[in-house]
Amino acid sequence: MTTATGDERLDETFAALANATRRAILARLAEGEATVNELAKPFDMTLPAISKHIKVLERAGLVRRGQRAQYRPCALDGTAIEEVSTWAEQYRPVWEARFDRMDDYLAQLAPQRKADEHDD
């Protein structure tokens, strides 16, 4: 994969998704890997045109291709999308629980605070 800045690659990912043919290719690959020939079948497009779409998806990190001879089957790589929605969401309940405890702790401190204010 060529080196690009994070923003450039993010642009590529979204640009790759902003095309009906490429989304259809992804939908097909969601069912299992396929060769370029198989991917081309449902579309009224030439092989080079389909190949071009696949290259875009590949560069965006949404599709990976095997290295086996000229077949080089394509497969969906969902990692890019799955991972962005997972680690952060794993943290949500951790933080929610922390802030619940902070609330309880503040309630415990409240009588103390009132007493302090009284002393002033």
Partner: protein, 166 residues
């Protein structure tokens, strides 16, 4: 400053507390207060070093009792923004007890967990009450805006290089 991080790879939690902003600030910056709420039941915080100034470091230890004895997890980080009673930003990474950063996967964390994350706390004084917005996001090295996407794409690139010959 609003959160202009366009990535979904962040936790954003908004809460209001029935306490003045000064006290909520202390909840985040005074180790004794932090110990009271940071860890869940059964988890103690034996160490909470917090040098709360820009560039200052933090080191927090969470200790869990297990049948095999106490298990410790260490977290280190650096304060990036410190605006008293208003805004606190610090990074967080898993580390050893000396604050040497360790990669999450080496420590058995799930795939895709970024090495460094950033916690942003924005406080608003509501007159005796406080509104707090906490954002916890991944920190890519070269682009704060792209967060988890960058991380995932980096991993993906590595994954393709490793497994591309299947």
């Amino acid at each position: 400053m609003t959160d202009d991080n366009g990535s979904q790879d962040a936790v954003v939690i908004e809460r209001s507390f029935d306490a003045p902003v000064e006290l909520i600030w202390q909840m985040w910056t005074d180790p004794e207060h932090v110990k009271a709420w940071y860890g869940p039941n059964g988890v103690s915080i034996p160490v909470a070093k917090m040098d709360v100034r820009v560039g200052g470091s933090r080191l927090v230890c969470m200790e869990v009792q297990t049948p095999d004895g106490p298990m410790q997890m260490w977290f280190t980080g650096e304060y990036r923004e410190v605006v008293k009673h208003e805004r606190l930003v610090y990074t967080e990474s898993m580390s050893d007890e000396n604050g040497n950063v360790q990669s999450p996967s080496d420590l058995g964390m799930p795939e895709g967990h970024p090495t460094t994350t950033e916690v942003r706390v924005q406080l608003e004084d509501l007159g005796g009450r406080t509104k707090m917005v906490m954002t916890h996001a991944g920190v890519p090295s070269d682009s704060p805006g792209a967060a988890g996407w960058v991380m995932a794409l980096d991993k993906l690139a590595a994954h393709i290089e490793t497994h591309g010959d299947r």
